[in-house]
């Protein structure tokens, strides 16, 4: 199975290893991520304004590219996923945005939201299957108590993201079980860490990160995993420092016994 | 994308409403003061299954620009199954109208319950807008019937 893949800015630069973990794991699990040629940055923030068109075009280009290849579009970074999935929803359901975006794009055939956008985790859950993943794990992360940190972007708005129950998600917990570790459920896993504002309002962000850390370690977690590179950076920087935060692909590669391979590269 | 509107044009629209749900829904729209265009005129029938396709053709023949039929929601028919018959008949009629080149927007079926005054008003708004954008029905009107 081959998917169009949108890596996004961070995974292409600062966090290249996380991208490598994802690709090599995908290979081991029987699917391939084909990077979209000349993808452009999604902008990191979904433009909420109903009259924002230009800021949505980068996403439309990626979506259309996948459509032309007849592939589903897979994302890894939560922010890219959020932006692209929502823009796709606009292209499918909001007449005005669809018309105007297509006017800009001047494609041979207008793009009308045909591409299916999947997060890497959704591929693991719905295509590979967590049971199947479990079978392929060679190095189960036994004894690790991991708290899943979802943040905001993957889950909300629940109706559009249609990713999991926005108030009581379980996909990351199921993932943690599949790689042989023990999930720790704690209530702050879908509360914002303040990633956006950490640039200008570090104190606010610290406050939020600490709440998340306290809650997770209170319930017995020894580490957190997340799907958002910004959350990972922010939590690592601004929580109290007692709880390391990992990107989920790193643990995936580790469980599949592929981590060293990436490191050697 | 703006559609050029002929300000002078006022469409003639006939709405068939079943007595038990849609007519009552229109009454509720009225008592709740939910306005819609005066171009819509309602004909009361006992059930949507009383609407003979002939009535709709006749309306077009006599110069109506749009015809809408409203009934109880599927499964909620006062006569148990009338709206199912109506739905099939209208599907056939509309596909025939489509075949002979009448714009599909000129006809519509909508299920409106007695409690859905807002839906009735909203539906009529939409329908009138649609017919206004389509303009005069020239294809089916029998000019010999025109009242001069």
């Amino acid at each position: 199975m081959k998917y169009s893949y949108f890596p996004g800015c961070t995974l292409k630069n600062k966090a290249q290893d996380l991208d490598h973990y994802a690709r090599i794991s995908a290979e081991a699990l029987g699917f391939e991520l084909e990077e979209i040629s000349e993808w452009q940055c999604c902008g990191g923030v979904y433009p909420l304004g109903t009259d924002e068109i230009a800021t949505k075009l980068a996403s439309v280009r990626a979506l259309n590219d996948a459509k032309e290849k007849g592939q589903e579009l897979v994302t890894l970074c939560s922010a890219c996923h959020h932006v692209i999935k929502r823009v796709n929803d606009d292209m499918k359901n909001v007449d005005d945005i669809r018309t105007r975006a297509n006017n800009y794009m001047a494609l041979d055939e207008p793009y009308e939201g045909e591409t299916n956008v999947l997060h890497y985790l959704e591929v693991l859950r719905d295509i590979v299957g967590f049971d199947e993943l479990k079978k392929k794990v060679t190095n189960p992360l036994k004894g690790k108590k991991i708290g899943a940190y979802y943040g905001c972007l993957l889950l909300r708005p629940g109706k559009i993201m249609a990713f999991d129950d926005p108030e009581n998600p379980k996909i990351l917990e199921d993932f943690i079980r599949a790689i042989g570790a023990e999930p720790v459920i704690y209530p702050y896993r879908n509360e914002c860490c303040g990633g956006y504002i950490s640039l200008k309002e570090e104190e606010m962000s610290k406050n939020m990160c600490r709440k998340i850390e306290e809650s997770a370690s209170g319930f017995g977690a020894d580490m957190l995993i997340t799907a958002c590179p910004l959350c990972m950076y922010n939590l690592n920087k601004n929580n109290g420092g007692n709880l390391p935060v990992y990107y989920f692909t790193e643990l995936l590669a580790e469980a599949l016994g592929l981590k060293e391979e990436v490191k050697e590269q | 994308m703006s559609i050029e509107k002929n300000e002078e044009f006022r469409p003639k629209i006939v709405a068939f409403c079943c007595n038990w749900c849609s007519y009552a829904g229109a009454d509720l729209a009225g008592s709740s003061r939910m306005s819609y265009s005066a171009d819509v005129k309602i004909i009361r029938v006992p059930c949507s299954c009383r609407v003979n396709p002939m009535f709709i053709l006749r309306a077009f023949e006599r110069g109506a620009d749009g015809v809408i039929m409203c009934g109880c929601h599927p499964g909620d028919c006062h006569y148990t199954s009338g709206n199912f018959y109506a739905r099939r008949r209208m599907t056939l009629l509309f596909s025939m109208l489509d075949y002979i080149g009448v714009e599909s927007g000129r006809t519509r079926v909508e299920w409106v319950s007695a409690a859905e005054g807002a839906k009735f008003s909203q539906t009529m708004h939409e329908f009138v807008d649609k017919i206004t954008s389509l303009g005069k029905n020239v294809r089916l009107e029998d000019l010999r019937c025109r009242n001069l």
Binding site: G44, G151, C152, Y196, L199, K200, M208, N234 | -
Partner: protein
């Protein structure tokens, strides 16, 4: 110069929100992680738009404290979605004025070696035109 009425209408248009649907339950304010940092509270946004006091809204600190975490959007029982309103107000500011909340000159000193691109990209998109 746009009148306050124009600007209120613009906010409604950009956000797609009808502030009259609000029933003042306060679930947005109860959900907001930035509540304590805000001078105008999430449940109050609607009143400023209804009362056409956009000047206060665009000068409020809240504009820059909102995280766009969509907790209020997700939980609002009335489909009002205050997060969208505040974002529209922020749009008005960045579209009307040159002075924005983040100047490129101040960026270098805010960076550390680990800062992901995503943070800069999103900060610029949120704070600037």
């Amino acid at each position: 110069m746009k009148t306050e009425k124009n600007r209120a209408e613009l906010i409604k248009e950009i956000s797609g929100v009808n502030p009259l649907k609000c029933m003042k339950c306060g679930k947005c304010s109860a959900s907001c992680p930035s509540y304590n940092e805000m001078d105008i509270k999430p449940h109050q946004f609607v009143s400023y738009v209804i009362n056409e006091d956009i000047e206060s809204l665009v000068n409020s600190k809240s504009l820059w404290k909102c995280l766009s975490c969509f907790a209020c959007v997700e939980r609002c029982p009335r489909d009002v979605k205050p997060g969208k309103l505040i974002d529209a107000a922020r749009q008005i500011v960045v579209r009307e004025r040159d002075n924005t909340y983040l100047s490129p000159d101040e960026v270098p000193e805010l960076l550390d070696p680990e800062t992901p691109q995503q943070l800069l990209v999103s900060a610029f998109r949120r704070y600037r035109r």
